[in-house]
């Protein structure tokens, strides 16, 4: 045998170490440095479809990646995608390993203390979904209807609070059972997240879930470091323009299967 196991292992570690070195990021600076370097480092998810997942060619794909590329293109620079998890996306920004976090990031007071947020770039909400022929526009309309929801999920708690007493809430074990119950017509309405609805739409089923009303909304924002007002201004300008010319809506259509909601 030309290679024994130990030398293979060593070679493997060597490769890993080299890879680690080449990826060790330089310090990210403000807008001017990004323009000078011609590269913007963007933290994106790779474990949260349709916002970010690993594509067939092992490169990240998704809503967030498209937005990252859009912003980079408008800045006239190259986007360098930095895969992050939901736990480490803000630390990556704070330690300047990334210039922007575009990682389905929601806004809350704790986060607002440590980083800045752009305007919203993606809808993220729980709501009631049903086919077009079901006439529901508000929680009271659920009276007398069968409503499917995943037991114990956030939307279950919210639905239990707002649903009228005559709504028949069917609580299923997991998301897939809830989806199956909707697709097979066992329930008229499902209460779930827009991401789940997008996953259903992606299968192109005969019963298409359309959003009827929102229950809880927490859209996604681009996260930036606090001391970069110029970059923030530029990102907001790009997003506003993208909303106006329909390019952001095209991304929403592509990944979420629905137009941006009116609130955008």
């Amino acid at each position: 045998m030309p290679f024994d196991r130990r030398s293979l292992l060593l070679a493997g570690f060597g490769l890993l170490a080299a890879a680690g070195l080449s990826f060790s990021p330089a310090r990210a600076e403000g807008l001017d440095d990004i323009l000078k370097a011609g590269v913007i480092k963007v933290a994106v998810p790779q474990d949260f479809p349709p916002f970010g997942s690993v594509g067939p060619d092992l490169k990240p794909v998704g809503y967030d990646i498209d937005v990252a590329n859009l912003i980079a293109a408008k800045l006239g620079v190259k986007a360098e995608l930095v895969p992050v998890t939901s736990a480490n996306r803000i630390p990556y920004l704070q330690t300047k390993k990334a210039d922007l976090v575009i990682s389905s990031l929601g806004k809350n007071p704790d986060r607002e203390k440590v980083i800045d947020f752009s305007i919203a770039y993606a809808p993220f909400f729980n709501g009631a979904f049903a086919p077009a022929d079901v006439k529901v526009t508000k929680p009271e309309d659920l009276a007398g209807l069968t409503v499917g929801v995943t037991r114990g999920a956030n939307e279950d708690m919210e639905l239990t609070k707002i649903a009228p007493a005559t709504a028949e809430i069917k609580r299923y074990e997991d998301n897939n059972s809830t989806i199956s119950a909707f697709l097979s017509g066992q329930v008229k309405v499902i209460v779930t997240g827009n991401v789940t609805a997008a996953a259903i739409l992606a299968r192109n089923p005969p019963r298409k879930p359309e959003v009827k009303f929102l229950i809880k909304e927490s859209p996604c924002y681009v996260g930036l470091n606090k001391d970069e007002p110029k970059l923030l201004e530029k990102v907001n300008a790009i997003l506003t323009a993208a909303k106006a010319d329909g390019s952001l809506n095209a991304i929403s259509k592509k990944w979420l299967g629905a137009d941006l909601p009116a609130s955008f």
Partner: protein, 224 residues
């Protein structure tokens, strides 16, 4: 680390648990009765019925006995609507339990029938009994008496199988326990209560079956 039990958190959910017990009993009684009925018919078909009836019944019995109950339930609840047969979760659950118990019951009861000596049939015929009378008094009752304990156990198993029906939003004991667990995060308490309830129900069910046995087979030694 000592776990601090807090049954107080469960108290507000008592009506849900009570409803769960009701649903589990309902599923078991209806499913058990219809299932044993189906089992008797199938056992007759496989052992004494007309020859043309045997292959389809055998196919049914083997199909059900060699696939998981959960899949049978999902097939009925999520699958059948695709061809236009939409059953509510209770109907789907009862149908699945009847079909399941029918197949297992068939094999248990058939074992009892096969154990009946042929001469006994002929004795019935020579006493001028009709075929139905012979089947009922000479074949079925002794067969049932022989396999009564096995049948009892199978019905208890079917009752436990009903726990699976909570997957399709049937609000039985298991559903109640899962629901409480998802709201209060008191998983240990919720499942202890569910365990005790199933245990008590199973003991009651066995006692009922024993009494039913003594009632059905009065001239024979009470089946145990």
């Amino acid at each position: 680390m000592a776990y601090v039990f807090d049954y107080g958190a469960i108290v507000p959910y008592a009506p849900l648990i009570a409803k769960g017990v009701g649903i589990t009993v309902e599923l078991t009684v209806i499913g058990g009765a219809l299932g044993v009925g189906l089992g008797i018919v199938c056992a007759w078909a496989r052992s004494l019925g007309p020859r043309w009836l045997r292959p389809p019944v055998t196919l049914y019995v083997e199909l059900i006995r060699n696939t998981p109950f959960l899949i049978q339930l999902f097939f009925i609840f999520f699958g059948l609507p695709s061809i236009g047969v939409s059953l509510g979760e209770m109907q789907a659950a009862i149908l699945a339990m009847v079909i399941n118990l029918g197949a297992y019951g068939c094999e248990i009861i058939r074992a009892g029938i096969e154990a009946t000596p042929r001469g006994q049939f002929e004795a019935g015929a020579s006493l001028a009994m009709t075929r139905i009378q012979t089947f009922r008094h000479v074949v079925l009752m002794p067969a049932l008496q022989r396999i009564w304990p096995a049948l009892t156990s199978q019905i208890v198993i079917v009752m436990f199988g009903s726990a699976v029906c909570s997957q399709i939003a049937v609000e039985d004991i298991t559903f109640a326990a899962n629901f409480i667990q998802s709201r209060t995060f008191r998983a240990f308490e919720a499942y202890i209560i569910a365990t005790v309830l199933y245990l008590v129900l199973a003991l009651i069910l066995r006692q009922v079956m024993r009494s039913l046995g003594t009632l059905l087979f009065p001239r024979r030694r009470a089946a145990r």
